[in-house]
Structure formats: C-alpha cells, structure tokens
C-alpha cells in the first residue's frame, strides 16, 4: 500500500471517504501548519488560531463525504479558514472598531524591512501578495480563492510588486 504521505490530495480524500483514518492524518499533517499560520495571519491570536485550525478540519470532515476535489486543497480551505478566523477576530473585538483583513505579520521579534514594506500595501493587494509569495498559489488559484477575475488578481499583484520595488529603492 502507498505511503499516505506520498498520495495526492485527491487520493487521500477518496481514502478518507472510505473511512481511512491514516489518510486523514496525512492530509492533516500536510496542511496543518499552513492552516494555523493563515488563521493567525487573519485573527492575530495564537489560541484563536488553534481553535480555527480545529474548526477548519471539523468543517473539512463534514464536507468530505460529498467532496470532489477539483483544485488544490488550499483553494478549498482558504475561504473556510479566512471566514472562521475573521469570525474569531470579530468576536474578540466586539467592542472595538472592526477591521476585516489581514493583521500585520506575526511578530514576536522586532519588525524587519519586509514587514515594513508590506505594511504600506493596501489590504486587497497585501492579500494577493500573501497568497502568491507565502502560500505559493498560482494566479488562477488566487482568483478562485478570492472569487475575483484573473485580470483583477494580476493588476493587484502588479501594483503591489511595483510598490514593493519602489519602497526598496
């Protein structure tokens, strides 16, 4: 039998649908760190990010019986993580002005030049940069994840890269 860690996401999903727990474990370990980092990026709170991690995989388990994975697992998970993390953030900031978006990058160390450069980007462009450079999605996957036309994604990325290059000079 193939090592679960070597199987594609589609193969793992099919195995989980047959009740294979080791396939779920492989899928979980494949996306755990990405999901929790993403959640942290949106909600900015460590415990909340861990709760979002658990809620995301609970959501995945619920959807699995009828799930037909046609794209990357990341494009399936991203909207769920974002929604759950922003809900946590809303709950945490119930009495504070609502800012729906990506928190500045996690910082337990002093901010570096990259963080400073990113801080100058508008929210919409920052999200595209994150998805492209940190999450490694293709442009068409970013368009699917954000439910935007490909052209909009390209123009946002182009503007962001221009700005980052300008800041660097």
């Amino acid at each position: 039998m193939t090592d679960p860690a070597e199987r594609t996401d589609q193969e793992l999903v099919r195995a989980i649908q047959e009740g294979d727990l080791s396939a779920f474990e492989a899928l979980y370990l494949r996306y755990r760190d990405w999901v929790v980092s993403l959640a942290y990026r949106f909600c900015g709170h460590r415990e909340d990010a861990l709760d979002v991690l658990q809620e995301t995989f609970a959501y995945l388990l619920k959807k699995l019986p009828s799930l037909e994975l046609r794209s990357q697992m990341k494009t399936f998970l991203y909207p769920a993580v974002k929604h759950l993390a922003l809900a946590r953030k809303r709950a945490a900031r119930r009495h504070a002005p609502l800012e729906e978006g990506i928190d500045p990058p996690a910082r337990e160390s002093p901010p570096g030049d990259v963080e400073d450069m990113l801080a100058c980007l508008p929210e919409a462009e920052l999200e595209v940069v994150w998805l492209r450079f940190v999450d490694g999605l293709e442009l068409k996957e970013i368009a699917a994840v954000l439910d935007l036309p490909l052209g909009t994604v390209k123009s946002r990325l182009h503007r962001a890269l221009e700005e980052l290059r300008r800041k660097k000079k």
Partner: protein, 182 residues
C-alpha cells in the same frame, strides 16, 4: 549568456511567473538574453524568500491539539462507517417492507381489479371464463335445458337440485358483480 538588452524588458508579472517556474518559452528566452531582467528577477527572488520566511511566524501546533483533531476525525469517520453499514440494511428493510406492502395490496386490490383470477374458484363461473357474467347464467340454462351433465357445485341456492332457479342466481350474481365493479 548574452548581456545584450532587448528593447522591451519583462514586466513584473512576467518576472514573477519566471520566479514561480510558470514562465513562457518567450519569457525564458528573453531572460537568457537580458542582464537587466536577470537582475530584476534576482531582486524578486530575494523578496520572495523574505516573504516566505513570514510563514514560519506561528510556531508549532501543540501535541494535545493534534490529538484532539485526530480524535475528532476518528469519531466522525467511525460514525460515517456505521452510517454506511446501516444504510444498506435500512435499504433492504425498506425494500422488504415495500414488497410485503405490495403483496398485501395485491391481495386487496386483485379481487376488485382482477376478478377473473378468483372468479375461477367461484362455482357460479359456469363456463370457467374467469368471471361470472350473464353468459354463465345462459350456459347453465342451456345445459339444464339440454339435459347435459350438471356439476353439483352449481346448486347455488342450496336446494339440493341444479335447475333454472340456479341459473337465475347466476344471472342475479352477474348483475350484482357488474354493479360492484363499475
């Protein structure tokens, strides 16, 4: 490798495509020929690796959280297995129930809709056509008149003899049956 500068340099999106290994053959060819674009790509790659470093910001997931999530999966997949096992049984039970119901309905419906089947058992079905009708009364009357052998079961009024009165019983029965089925 040439350091000649082609007229139009690659734009940032093209450079980003090349960085991600998605560049077109034309873009790759341009990069080979253009030192400025190679320099721009190196800048972008440096930015990319710095951004990728931000991914590590969260740190690790505690073991107890992993266990909680895997326990949740174990429970959910266990329930799914039970549902898978139970569903076919339910299906078979439903199918069996439907069959019994159909059989029951059949027994109930047949006398009304398919009278001929049971009518064969009816002594009034003189000509064994499967239904009791005025032709049975006529056939019986003919047989009585002709002196043909008569089946004792045709004594429908139970007076001990098969005669015209029994033919009248069949006639009445055929009329009443017709009324019942109409």
């Amino acid at each position: 490798m040439s350091n000649a500068k082609p007229k139009d340099h690659l734009d940032l999106l093209a450079l980003d495509s090349l960085r991600a290994g998605e560049g077109t053959p034309d873009e790759k060819a341009h990069l080979e020929a253009c030192g400025a674009c190679r320099g721009a790509l190196e800048d972008l790659e440096r930015l990319s690796s710095k951004l990728a470093g931000l991914r590590e910001g969260f740190g690790g997931v505690p073991g107890e959280r992993d266990r909680a999530i895997l326990d949740m999966a174990r429970r959910e997949l266990g329930r799914a297995k039970v549902r898978k096992l139970v569903r076919p049984r339910l299906w078979w039970s439903a199918a069996a129930a439907a069959l019994l119901l159909a059989a029951g309905l059949g027994l109930w419906v047949v006398p009304a809709r398919r009278l001929p089947l049971l009518a064969r058992l009816d002594p009034a079905d003189i000509d064994r056509s499967g239904s009791v009708d005025i032709l049975d009364a006529y056939t019986l009357a003919i047989r009585i008149r002709a002196g043909a052998p008569l089946d004792p079961s045709w004594d429908l009024n139970h007076d001990g003899v098969v005669d015209r009165k029994d033919a009248d019983v069949v006639a009445k029965e055929s009329v009443s049956l017709r009324r019942r089925t109409e």
